[in-house]
Symmetry: C2
Subunit: 430 residues, 2 copies
């Protein structure tokens, strides 16, 4: 196929942080993009809520409209880039243009994690391309390597730091000894965290991303609601100190694995060994660690958010779609219609770190060990700390079913000698 | 395009460590590969030197032939996998089948680094696909992300640990305090290093891989001979200790960068800060750190060699080619015919670590500082170690042109007070 001078016309749905970055790069890297796509790229129309909004990069006012129909029904547009975020009206707009056979590139993790099935089906039945590299890990090439380069391998496990805000907060708590509240306030001041930080700190954002990774890697439709989720707001600075003392770092990990019993998918704070490649991912970076049956360990690292990194991933997708506009999509993801069976968290095995504030009297440890023993939970390490009013027991269990651990925890909470159980964190070794 | 039951027929050229891994995975992952490629894959013929050779995985004797023509001119073969290694006869075979419009997937770094131009040209003029993900970084998806996901970005710099043997040796020297010779012997005993280790320890293997990365990232034909090269055989255990004391790790890095003055490409032992993501890549793992103008920092990590990781990368390529067999290749790499201009090492700026064994008398440091000053080299850190016969000066310079540094080094070697300059290692900060 020879290069063509006929531009690929893009409809940009949304022009905030990411959208204005896309607009900026389409102009700035015009020559490189044209060489890669074999045709020039041109932003033809931009759908905005407010043309006067402040943007990180300026965009051409004459292309903007607040009327969705202007952009959605423009027959000259070849590819839509959806960077509005959220479900409404993004879902409706994406389904509408796919239904007309137009291709879509989106950065919308919520949309793909929540409505992946209908989007893949609509795209497939209209021979339209859908790509969403930017929805997970921002600028990191992740979806395409998983889907294409590892297409023939059997992916066994994925562990990812897929939310930069929480990684920043945990990094500050660990390196500066900040409290959770201080580190969160700092992240908000730097613009890493929203005024309402819930989606980040409670793992909601990470759960959407993990659902997408699971669907791609395990060839099954997994939604965000199926992902077990715990956030970082209950992590104490002392836990990070204890962790380091025990040889671990604490990260909010999105973990998925598959074996003969099915898929497990969960987002929670996790202690990982200090020499694990994920332990040294600091600040607002993202990284996804993958174990393939044949390929072994892989890790992908980079900027998980930000205007230009995310826009770069979007344009990588646009280039790919542009090269293949005259062909039916090679990837149809029909497996997305087979719902993935996720094992309930009660049936997932893990090791646990636990802190117990206890009354400082003889026989406490024996009682605690007894409760664990009754629930079939064996202990790997036990540290006794402090004295009198501040006596603490810090322990790590061997691998145990969540269900058994919960029973033990309840039993411990009922012991007269146990004042409080301030911390429980899961521990992963690989 | 609907799935088809007509198999994609593969001609396997070579069946050693990697080839037998490919054969094994084609059978073992038949269902997954057929789903990904949309057609079953079948190894139709295998060219071997000796059918009785010992292989990590068994392969079907009835498919083997020692007669190249049997495989090369079989008209029913769709895709050739070249895993013989070396230039002769791999180059001739690859050019022959490409000339007949057959597609090729190869793991042969030497071939692509040395003869990339004629291979890309022959493939393009015969509408044949050529893919070589496994040639750099074994199982790590690297070529395709650089070429496709980052196709629209401007890649500024790459720093890679692309040779597992040397990384293993340096890791053992650093963690166990082994000498170079001990660590090499250990690597040989484990099968990580060849009986003749030259290609690994002198950076020849890494230079080929860097030439390929440069060609892809900078859109220019770069050959292995253009890459400046220094090996690790002159690294002392003490250098690794000094490095750690100064806050650095020592790695054999393949480094390439591009700015307005052109491309620089070099392989040499390098001190990098302990908190750099590459510093913690240990053992025989590989990792490539990339800085893109828009995407920022990325890193790709995994198994850089080994039968199944490499075979996985090859099959990722095969799946991609199989899906697109009826289409002309999307990537023609015509830029490979534009020779890349590489800046001579004398004109590359770097920081340098240097150890000088000196006579322990007053004024030595002043004389040394004087020589550096005369050559416009300023010093960032200076440590004086030992006394009398074993007096040493350990220093790190600020950034300086290689040419000036070399003049200073010559001047220092001529000083009466300087007994020896046992170590010089370049230092990178990012």
């Amino acid at each position: 196929m020879a290069n063509s001078t006929e531009p690929v016309r893009i409809g940009l749905l949304g022009c905030g942080t990411i959208g204005s970055g896309v607009f900026h790069l389409v102009r700035k890297n015009a020559a490189g993009l044209a060489e890669a796509a074999r045709r020039p790229l041109e932003v033809a129309r931009i759908l905005v809520k407010d043309p006067d909004e402040t943007r990180p990069f300026p965009a051409d006012r004459s292309l903007m409209t607040t009327d969705a129909a202007d952009v959605l029904s423009d027959p000259s547009i070849d590819i839509y880039i959806e960077v509005m975020g959220g479900i409404r009206p993004a879902r409706e707009f994406v389904l509408e243009v796919l239904g007309r056979g137009k291709s879509v590139v989106t950065a919308n993790k919520e949309l793909i994690a929540g409505h992946g099935r209908e989007i893949m089906e609509t795209a497939a039945s209209n021979n339209a391309h859908v790509r969403f590299e930017a929805a997970v890990g921002g600028g990191i090439p992740l979806i395409r390597p998983l889907e294409e380069s590892l297409g023939g391998d059997n992916i066994l496990k994925m562990m990812g730091i897929v939310n930069g805000t929480t990684n920043y907060i945990l990094t500050r708590m660990s390196t500066e000894g900040s409290t959770y509240e201080e580190a969160l306030a700092e992240a908000q001041a730097l613009g890493y965290a929203e005024a309402d930080p819930e989606a980040d700190v409670e793992g909601i954002d990470a759960a959407s991303k993990l659902a997408i990774l699971c669907s791609i890697a395990f060839h099954a439709g997994v939604t965000a609601e199926q992902v077990y989720r715990e956030g970082i707001s209950h992590i104490h600075t002392e836990d990070l100190e204890n962790a380091r003392e025990l040889g671990y770092a604490v990260k909010l990990l999105a973990i998925a694995s598959r074996d003969d019993d099915g898929i497990s998918a969960r987002v929670h704070p996790t202690m990982i060994p200090l020499d694990h490649p994920l332990a040294s991912i600091s600040g607002n970076f993202n990284a996804v660690f993958v174990i393939g049956e044949s390929v072994g360990e892989l890790m992908f690292y980079g900027q998980g958010a930000g205007s230009l990194p995310t826009a770069t991933a979007i344009l990588g997708d646009v280039v790919n779609v542009a090269r293949n506009l005259d062909r039916p999509p090679a990837t149809r993801r029909s497996y997305w219609s087979r719902p993935g069976e996720i094992r309930p968290i009660e049936k997932v095995a893990a090791r646990f770190y636990m802190v117990l504030k206890v009354a400082d009297r003889p026989g406490v440890l024996a009682k605690i060990a007894g409760v664990f023993g009754d629930c079939d939970v064996s202990l790997e390490r036990v540290l006794q700390k402090g004295k009198a009013d501040s006596a603490e027991i810090v322990l790590i269990t061997h691998e145990v079913l969540e269900r058994n651990f919960r029973t033990a925890r309840e039993g411990l909470a009922n012991l007269e000698e146990v004042v409080e159980i301030p911390s429980v964190i899961r521990v992963e070794s690989s």
